[in-house]
Symmetry: C2
């Protein structure tokens, strides 16, 4: 084993801390943080991490961790450290024994026929959940308008469970910069509380952009000038659904219509 990192002043430790805490640093470096055995293993499948710090005895305590430990031995930029150093880097209460920095993937979107656009979704758990639903529903491109929680933050990455390595994601967009990316999708539907169009009445087999707004305030007024509205009919007395649920219901309705259409044709 190479030298054990025990100082919080070590440059790798400081680098990882900055990527955990600062959106600006993540975006300047084009790197994000992955934590835990499963996410790091997915990262290694995709490419070379910039740096990995791990607690050998903690990894050795599980089978998956031991497998990862064997892989780490061959990596030049993986370093053993102490639980205290890891706890000082991570933003979770119980760090999972390994944390690293990896490049933001550049994934080609190939003119996706189902696009999800996040317009101010603020809760990192909601953003991560929407990314998972997007992948499972067949979305080919995720676009994040400014005002959305940072899709590369540790919380969103954890809750996305690896989807960051597979889905093409573009963030920090304004409508002007988003438009060229959705030119081929004439149908743009923003989910709102009230609309004459129920989501299951729209033909979502056509190339479509589905837009999910902020938890409290919905989509922006700018978005309403670029998109039609669509709604999920609700019974009962509630004012709204959870944003991740509403977005997921739309996404799986698109998937359902497309699956049905293939079956009807086949």
């Amino acid at each position: 084993m190479s030298d054990l990192i025990t100082s919080a002043a070590n440059h790798h430790v400081k680098y990882l801390r900055s990527l955990v805490r600062s959106r600006k640093d993540r975006h300047n470096e084009r790197r994000f943080v992955v934590e835990g055995v499963r996410l790091v293993a997915e990262a290694l499948n995709v490419g070379q991490p910039s740096v990995l710090l791990y607690v050998p005895e903690q990894l050795a305590s599980t089978e998956r961790g031991q497998q990862l430990l064997d892989q780490l031995a061959a990596l030049p930029n993986a370093f053993a450290t102490t639980p205290a150093i890891l706890a000082g880097i991570s933003d979770v209460e119980t760090p999972q024994g390994i944390i690293g920095a990896v490049p933001m993937p550049q994934i080609n979107s190939q003119l996706a026929s189902l696009i999800v656009m996040l317009d101010g979704v603020q809760d990192p758990g909601n953003v991560g959940t929407l990314l998972r639903s997007a992948e499972a529903a067949g979305v080919g491109q995720v676009l994040c308008l400014q005002g959305t929680a940072d899709v590369w933050s540790p919380k969103v990455v954890r809750s996305g469970m690896g989807v960051h390595f597979r889905l093409p994601i573009v963030d920090g967009l304004q409508w002007e910069t988003a438009l060229p990316l959705i030119e081929h999708c004439p149908q743009r539907f923003a989910a709102v509380q009230d609309s004459a169009l129920a989501y299951d009445q729209a033909d979502l087999r056509q190339p479509s952009v589905l837009i999910i707004g902020n938890e409290a305030n919905g989509v922006s007024s700018t978005t309403l000038s670029y998109a039609n509205t669509i709604t999920i009919p609700m019974l009962g007395a509630l004012e709204s659904l959870n944003a991740a649920v509403a977005g997921s219901v739309l996404l799986f309705e698109a998937a359902r219509q497309r699956r049905k259409s293939m079956k009807d044709e086949g």
Copy 2:
């Protein structure tokens, strides 16, 4: 204004603290805790709270809070207190100026034709989100099997946003005690990762029980002996959807089929 409560040893303070922290106490007392202006206002619409503690100057700072403050003046068991006392009771970092104990509602279920059953859902946010989706999708009865997060915990109540006052909820069930409640619903579908039956191929217009399992382990083996399985087809590489998302997708598919069926007939 009546006497200001300033002692953490006050019996109302101790009672509320016990209901925030102890599932056993909530169930023995058949009382649960509501916090914040909106939830307390909903509670007052339904009936008399057992006790309410509030910080007058905090409530007075918003219009809704001021309206509630006016109502409180007429209540014999509403008492002014200090921010420090409220912070000592609540489990949230920023208490919202009012907290109270209210009886668990007894709501008649009238042989619901859409029932959701939670089988070990552990995350309180997921339980609350599922309750909201249930109400919005037209569910008439919520059943919670043992092993599910306490539906009356402060976290679930907050995330349910008032649905506890409107949906008939029965918890602490085992299959033996649940069966009499679903006798009229011959269709019982447990959501699983793999099943020959896609959720949109099932006829959910018929009286149905939809069963959502634990986040990590799914539904129990006992449940599989009482129910058929159903699945949400997924693209991509994910192992699973978020439990609240999966349940909500099923619930809104049932709502969609029923709405469509009414339209086709009408």
